[in-house]
């Protein structure tokens, strides 16, 4: 393994947050071109190919993370259960993700129900949404958008990596067929 790869691996494995290319370059003791850095990261990624972790590039940088197929081992080890979000929370998130920036009123209009204050707070506390500004209408309601951390937590680099919304009429068969209820 080259010295560059050894240092990059060590940096990435010991950082709690994803690292940007700029951060990695600032940590290195000698000048490294972006090109060389990228090649080093690519090589490192293939080195880990058949291991339990993978090197990924998400919204806020590069990080090592466990592969999905190993979740069973980790779940056996973990005492704390990850939070399970209600349908209200996930639907609210979906509206913000696909229609951002949106106001609380927009969310209520699409879902057809009034929004519990706790629902938005849950998403804010998770660091997935934030207020990006205010709409210039009476009352100046807050405009919500998703954060880079939301993308990073869902293992995505940009919003374009999300499954596209099924549009208009193709939706109909789904509506007719999907008789399953999620209770």
């Amino acid at each position: 393994m080259t010295h560059l790869k050894i240092v990059l691996e060590m940096l990435l494995l010991s950082s709690v947050e994803p690292l940007t290319l700029a951060q990695m370059r600032s940590a290195l003791d000698e000048e490294v071109s972006s090109e060389a850095l990228r090649r080093g990261l690519d090589a490192l990624r293939s080195d880990w190919h058949d291991r339990g972790l993978e090197l990924v590039c998400v919204a806020d940088g590069w990080r090592f993370q466990t592969k999905v197929q190993f979740q069973g081992y980790l779940q056996r080890l973990r005492v704390e259960k990850p939070p399970k979000y209600s349908r209200a929370v996930m639907e609210t998130l979906a509206v913000i993700v696909y229609k951002q920036p949106v106001t609380r009123g927009d969310i209520e209009a699409i879902r057809g129900v009034s929004l519990n204050a706790q629902t938005l707070r849950t998403l804010e506390q998770r660091g997935w949404i934030r207020i990006a500004g205010h709409r210039n209408v009476p009352g100046r309601p807050a405009l919500f958008v998703t954060t880079p951390q939301f993308l990073s937590d869902l293992n995505l680099r940009t919003l374009d990596d999300l499954p596209p919304l099924q549009g208009g009429d193709e939706q109909v068969p789904n509506l007719a067929v999907n008789a399953e209820l999620d209770l």
Binding site: L12, L13, S14, S15, V16, L53, R63, F64, Q65, T66, K67, V68, Q71, L74, P82, Y85, R87, A88, M90, E91, L93, A94, V95, V97, Y98, I110, R111, G112, V113, S114, S152, D153, L154, N155, L156, L162, P163, L165, Q166, G167, G168, D169, Q171, V172, N174, L175, A176, V177, N178, A179, E180, L181, D182, L183
Partner: protein, 265 residues
Amino acid sequence: MNASLAWVNGEPLKELPPDLYIPPDALAVYLNTFEGPLDLLSWLIRHHRLDVLDIPMAQLTAQYMKYVLWMRSQRLELAAEYLVMAVWLIEIKSRLLLPGVPDVDEMGGDIDPRAELVQRLLEYEQIRWAAQQLEALPRIGREIFAVHLSPELVAESPPLVDVAAFPLIWLEFIKHDRLLSHHKAARRELSVRAAMANLLSGVQGDFFVEFYTLFDVRQGVAQWVVNFLALLELAREHQIELVQNQSFAPIYLRAAGATGEGDLF
């Protein structure tokens, strides 16, 4: 499809009976899982295999009303949205039934009264679907975990704070405050009391003041209003007198109780 809808007397309820009779215990559990009237409507449409683009309004409204009335009879907490939706459904149904002037769009084409309902159902359905997709994505802390070396080895040093930041922060507060006090200053400037004092000092002795001189163009409309209010106030307090010889003649002001030696008339 194997998921049971609810448990009734220890028995899993796999599917709701087509005739809509559902044991009350099950229905209570079941209705609480709806995320509002759009969710209930889109379930009814799916369950009865109706065509969302050609909704039989009478049938859908009847089904929906059965649920809503049932919920009311059970004193289930019924959000206002459900009743609003009921009103809307009935309105659409009656517009379809009533012969009369059809709604037309700008192009002169007929508008199906159901169009907005369909639009909202489809939009909600998209979001319901998207929420399921988001839920299924692997998530940090659930299916995937970021690496973590023991904290003492990569201990984050606590944030450093520069003392010099405090006065700057405070300046921000003061600036904010100045904005507010600016408004207060503006209010003082337009004080009716000040205008009254000003007016009174102008009519000392036996001088008359012509009414129009109070409305100097340079002072602006706000000041005019204040001057006028001051004038009315002074007149009410009998501190000044207003004199007008005849209709549309000039109006004059003078201090109350002036001897009238300077009388113009």
